[in-house]
């Protein structure tokens, strides 16, 4: 946008250095969403650049799917992404939670969630990651976001901007650099921000299944001793499976011959939806919890998995990232609209205050859930039956749980409420 170009004209003789208002390292779901949120807030003249060597690559090999909570869906709708997904987004209309031993025949349902956050608005949707990434990339292209198919190799921070080096020694100066480069963020390390991390010793086996009868939009989460086994509804008679095991077991199970794998799958999936069969190869993802010591630096911010990685037990990883996006875009826009340096320390501090508490609370809650459920103790099972059974019988508390999981409690950024910036 002009305010910065005006400034940079003053740097006489530096015409070789390209300018951007915001440089984003990482063109994944969080990075592209941030680019679009900033386009909404800063307007058509803002120069927003996304760096990612994998930008525009064929995504058809990615079979993963994500639960998009209501708040995150509102953000994607406002940014013009959601409507491109069409029937690829499958609403989750209800959720059942059970707790049992793996080989129990009957799984007592002790917690059910159904109902919408608002009439006609399901509390979540399942969306294939590849489709979402394609929709974000198309929207970003149409919105005039610069997509550069190269990684950020280095950066130097000066008072008025960050000089970002990419590709074969090319460079660009931006007012703000945002790292959306994932859990093993290189930029986070380069910025000298330490990460607190631990592994759970668990891994998730993920794949897609087809089943005989319609799922009616019902998501199932069975808490089994090694960890949760989740069935998440996809369009048609298909579902995304997230099957948690101890890491060594997960690797072994994923490598089992088809017939034996099928038997293990049926034991856990059950027969409520008739026959079931795997339609994609299983992938194994080690699980961990991680959080950066700081979400910001000088003219620098972390967003999404680069800032935090939580246990997928509550399906909140991507939603947390999109909440970061909404908060950072709002802080930046509010400052830019009144002419303040939008990458100044006050602005970034507002973003960090907004997100760190929520992240820590979610991290602790999911960690506690995982510890409570991943074990073989009958005494603990009794305790969680009583605890969650109580939640089930208190409609107001349950309503709050649903709204919280949808990202609609607390100080909600405008984009998550479905408002433009």
């Amino acid at each position: 946008m002009g305010e910065y170009s005006q400034g940079h004209a003053a740097e006489a003789g530096r015409t070789d250095v390209a300018r951007a208002d915001v440089a984003i390292a990482g063109g994944g779901l969080a990075g592209l969403s941030l680019a679009l949120a900033l386009r909404d807030g800063l307007g058509p003249d803002a120069r927003i650049t996304v760096f990612d060597p994998t930008i525009g690559r064929d995504t058809s090999g990615d079979v993963r799917a994500s639960a998009i909570a209501a708040g995150a869906r509102r953000l994607l709708t406002t940014l013009g992404v959601w409507d491109r997904l069409g029937p690829e987004a499958e609403p989750i209309r209800s959720m059942q939670v059970t707790d049992s031993r793996t080989r129990d025949v009957a799984r007592p349902v002790f917690l059910t969630f159904d109902g919408d956050v608002q009439p006609g608005e399901p509390f979540a949707h399942m969306v294939p990651n590849a489709r979402l990434l394609d929709a974000l990339t198309d929207t970003a292209r149409a919105a005039g976001i610069d997509l550069i198919p190269a990684p950020v190799s280095d950066f130097t921070t000066r008072r008025s901007g960050v000089e970002v080096t990419y590709g074969a020694g090319r460079s660009l100066t931006a007012a703000l650099l945002v790292a959306c480069d994932g859990a093993r963020s290189r930029l986070r390390d380069m910025a000298g921000i330490r990460n607190v991390a631990w592994a759970y010793g668990q891994s998730a086996i993920t794949f897609t299944v087809e089943h005989e009868r319609p799922h009616e939009g019902c998501a199932l989460e069975h808490f089994l001793p090694p960890g949760p086994f989740a069935t998440l509804p996809l369009p048609g008679n298909r579902a995304s499976i997230v099957w948690t095991e101890r890491h060594e077991d997960a690797k072994r199970i994923a490598a089992l011959p088809e017939a034996i794998f099928q038997e293990e799958l049926e034991t856990r999936f059950g027969h409520a939806l008739g026959w079931v069969r795997r339609v994609s190869a299983p992938a194994v993802h080690p699980l961990g919890f991680a959080m950066a010591r700081s979400f910001v630096g000088e003219r620098f911010a972390l967003v999404g998995d680069a800032a935090h990685l939580i246990h997928p037990i509550a399906g909140q990883g991507l939603n947390m990232g999109l909440r970061d996006v909404a908060a950072l875009a709002e802080a930046v826009t509010d400052a830019a609209r009144v002419g303040l340096d939008f990458a100044g320390p006050d602005v970034l501090e507002r973003y960090q205050r907004w997100r760190r508490f929520d992240t820590l609370a979610m991290g602790v809650a999911t960690d506690a859930l995982n510890r409570l459920f991943s074990n073989r103790s009958d005494a603990l099972r009794l305790m969680r039956d009583v605890g969650l059974g109580m939640v089930d019988r208190l409609p107001r508390l349950k309503g709050l749980f649903i709204k919280d999981a949808a990202g609609l409690t607390g100080a909600v950024p405008r984009l998550l409420r479905g408002e433009a910036l």
């Binding site: 946008m1 002009g2 910065y4 005006q6 003249d45 400052a335 609209r337 009144v338 002419g339």
Partner: protein, 246 residues
């Protein structure tokens, strides 16, 4: 200093000049000014967007407007105004302040016309501006009536004047003097003298005498729990007035 034409209080000027580089440290002695800056900029933006019928969502709503920032200090207001598109002239009686402001604007890559002159010099030269600002200034001048007459003369036809200051109430004494200066150590001691504060009625009367008619009023209040300033109808502590010639 010629009797009857100057509004400069030499002791006040010296106090601010001593700040130097600290003007721009958001955690330094001017921290409260940094804290209220987003709020006063939001008020200014709203008033000016309404007055000049500009696009409220745009990033450069003040494009092409000539703005005079009287008592610009280190440039905390001038720089954001320039980023919003205004052609800004910043004046301050302290050459030290203007040096700090000039250097900082250069680093920010902003073209701002800073001058270490009193307002009367611009009046004598016959200069006029679309917007004349005197934010947190009248509580520091020696002669409020004379100062406002000069400011009014600098407003071009169809232009607007915006001023802000501290009200002279028990609450402002408690908050601004005892609270901000002594308890919270937000401001250097002696930055404000309560007896120099001006009430909204007095301000409005002085504006009327200078031929300026008040069009908008707002207060600014601090929420100690949220730690944030916001605009409100409560004018007991900080307040703004916008006025037009005629």
């Amino acid at each position: 200093m010629t009797e009857g034409t100057s509004t400069i209080d030499a002791a006040e000027v010296a106090r601010f000049e001593a700040l130097g580089e600290q003007w721009w440290d958001p955690k330094g002695p001017m921290a409260p000014l940094h804290a209220i800056n987003p709020v006063r900029l939001a008020f200014l933006r709203d008033v000016l967007v309404r007055h000049f019928e500009r696009d409220a969502r745009g990033l450069r709503p003040l494009s092409g407007l000539k703005v005079l920032d009287i008592g610009c200090g280190g440039g905390l207001l001038s720089e954001p105004l320039a980023r919003m598109g205004a052609e800004v002239t910043g004046i301050d009686p302290a050459p030290g302040n203007v040096d700090v402001a000039r250097l900082h604007a250069e680093g920010s890559g902003l073209a701002i016309d800073y001058r270490a002159i009193p307002a009367e010099e611009l009046v004598e030269a016959g200069a006029q501006f679309d917007v004349v600002l005197a934010l947190e200034v009248v509580e520091h001048v020696a002669d409020v009536s004379l100062f406002i007459r000069q400011a009014g003369a600098l407003v071009a036809p169809g232009g607007v004047f915006v001023g802000s200051t501290l009200n002279r109430t028990a609450k402002s004494f408690a908050l601004a003097i005892v609270g901000a200066e002594y308890v919270l150590r937000w401001l250097p001691r002696g930055t404000h003298r309560w007896d120099k504060f001006v009430t909204p009625d007095e301000f409005e009367a002085v504006l009327a005498a200078a031929g300026l008619q008040v069009t908008e009023k707002a207060g600014m209040t601090f929420d100690p729990l949220g730690g944030r300033w916001s605009l409100s109808a409560d004018m007991d502590v900080n307040y703004f007035l916008a006025a037009i010639p005629g």
